[in-house]
Amino acid sequence: MMNIAEKEEALIDSFSIYDDWMDKYEYIIELGKDLPLISPDHKKDDNIIKGCQSTVWLHAEMKDGKVSFTADADAIIAKGIIAILIDVLSDEEPDTIVNAKLEFIKEIGLQQHLSPTRSNGLVAMVKQMKRYALALKMTA
């Protein structure tokens, strides 16, 4: 298992192959398509992330002291982005998630190259994941 820093490094490497932003999007779409399905039980209104213009459902649960995220989205690029975040943050301890700096977002350029509504969405996604981690830690 890689730690967060290693996972971020791996993502930066993957993205660095592509010069053109269209190719990077192609890759994000790929990741979106590969995102494992969320259980239909968890695709409920309570799990919708506010701030996204497309609808994103995010579910979190504890497994062996680590937070496991699953998600879905109606738009594929949003799904690709949440897939990236899950790739980095899932199966980590709550504290690790809460404290994660996620510098790779800037490095990949996701923030600048996604529209404000999406970039709000990205911010909202990260916030929500940290909130879940905190809540699960409290109730654990």
């Binding site: 779409i29 109606d74 738009a75």
Partner: protein, 405 residues
């Protein structure tokens, strides 16, 4: 005579900018228009050489500013063919104008009165009426829509009745492009004694609107959509009606005398223009309207119809496309969805290729509810757009679809 597109485009600095490595193709004119050089220069000159607060000032700059501001009012009056200068009220925009009417004209309404709007209104022409009817216990009715995105007049006889006090209707639907038969509705409204408000936010940039010929009671629009600055708009109202209405906001300029025991209000247009107005907004809008009125509107309409047909043809060939809004009488706006893709994905990938379109509900959620969709992709053209740009758009769209499927 055809428009000289090169000459026109050269007047808009932004049209030669790039998005990343792609030239900008600006198809979000329904949201806001770009600004010609004359407007930008006027704003510049004002701030560099003429800036001052208007009215009541004895000094030179204040005089120049006041003259320019009042000249803008007259330019707009002439363009709309309004009978009187003081029937032109400067507002913040369409939304502000509609709220002014809802609040002020609304005070003249009483129990049992009805307001009629349509199912295809922009939120700005829905919410103020919902708020008003809730406040005063009135009834709000909606003219329904057909699958083509046209108004359904089958029940008009009952919808427009002797209780109807106001009909507020959009001239052109921002989401569907439908051009509504407002002359007809104005006549039918007047026949039962109702007043009629035209939301012209989407029409003045495409066609000439003559308020006397239409005989509408109110007409509102936004400066930023007709090649003018942001933060300014116009409310036209018939003198008699505006005189009957109580003031909206209170403050400087809208009063004649103020004392601690009470206040007397100023005359039109000042009665409805409280506080320091958007001076440069008004002046800039005047310049924009003057610039616009220099064109032959038949040429503009011919070119825009060409663009609409050209784009509709090309889009229709795309597999799985569904166009929303197929009215017979339609302006240069196309809303669509591509089967199996999400509008935001399409919008994002178009943007990566320099194409600016809008995606979402376009502030017309009832239309989206009607078609049972979350939103559309909307390409809206202005007369500075070209067929070459549509070609680029179609190419980029095909690429996006290929990536998403």
């Amino acid at each position: 005579m055809a428009l000289d597109l090169n000459h026109i485009r050269n007047q808009f600095p932004i049209l030669s900018t790039k998005v990343g490595k792609y030239p900008l193709v600006y198809f979000d004119n329904g949201a806001t228009s770009q600004k010609p050089r004359v407007v930008i220069d006027a704003i510049n000159r004002y701030y560099e050489q003429e800036n001052a607060n208007i009215h009541r000032g004895v000094h030179h700059l204040s005089q120049v500013s006041t003259d320019n501001y009042e000249k803008a009012r007259r330019t707009i009056q002439e363009h709309l063919n309004a009978p009187h200068e003081h029937e032109i009220i400067f507002t913040k925009g369409t939304t502000d104008g509609i709220n002014l009417i809802a609040e002020s004209f609304g005070k003249l309404l009483t129990d049992g009165d009805e307001i009629l709007i349509t199912e295809m209104e922009h939120h700005s022409n829905i919410v103020p009426w919902q708020m008003l009817v809730e406040r005063k216990g009135l009834t709000l009715r909606y003219i329904p829509m057909t699958n083509l995105g046209e108004l359904d007049f089958s029940q008009l006889e009952t919808l427009i009745n002797e209780k109807t006090r106001l009909i507020a209707i959009t001239h052109i639907s921002n989401a569907l492009g439908t051009i509504n038969p407002i002359e007809d509705i104005i006549k039918k409204g007047h026949a039962v004694g109702a007043k009629v408000l035209i939301d012209a936010a989407q029409s003045l940039q495409h066609m000439r609107v003559d308020v006397q010929q239409l005989d509408c009671d109110f007409l509102v629009f936004s400066g930023h959509k007709v090649f003018g600055p942001t933060g300014v708009g116009i409310l036209y109202g018939k003198e008699k009606l505006l005189n009957e209405m109580p003031p909206y906001q209170g403050g400087g300029d809208m009063i004649k005398t103020v004392s601690m025991s009470g206040t007397t209000y100023n005359e039109l247009p000042h009665k409805f223009e409280a506080g320091t107005p958007n001076i440069i907004g008004g002046i800039g809008l005047g310049v924009a309207i003057e610039w616009l009125s220099g064109f032959n509107f038949e040429d503009i309409q011919q070119h825009e119809t060409d663009l609409l047909e050209y784009a509709t043809d090309a889009l229709s060939k795309i597999d799985g496309i569904k166009i929303y809004g197929e009215a017979e009488n339609k302006s240069s706006v196309i809303s669509f969805l591509i089967e199996g893709t999400h509008p935001y994905d399409i919008g994002t990938l178009l943007n990566q290729q320099g194409i600016a379109v809008r995606t979402g509900h376009h502030c017309t959620q009832p239309i989206m509810e009607f078609f049972d969709i979350p939103g559309t992709i909307r390409a809206s053209f202005s007369f500075y757009n070209t067929k070459e740009e549509i070609d680029q758009f179609i190419k980029a769209l095909e690429k996006a679809i290929q990536m998403l499927r």
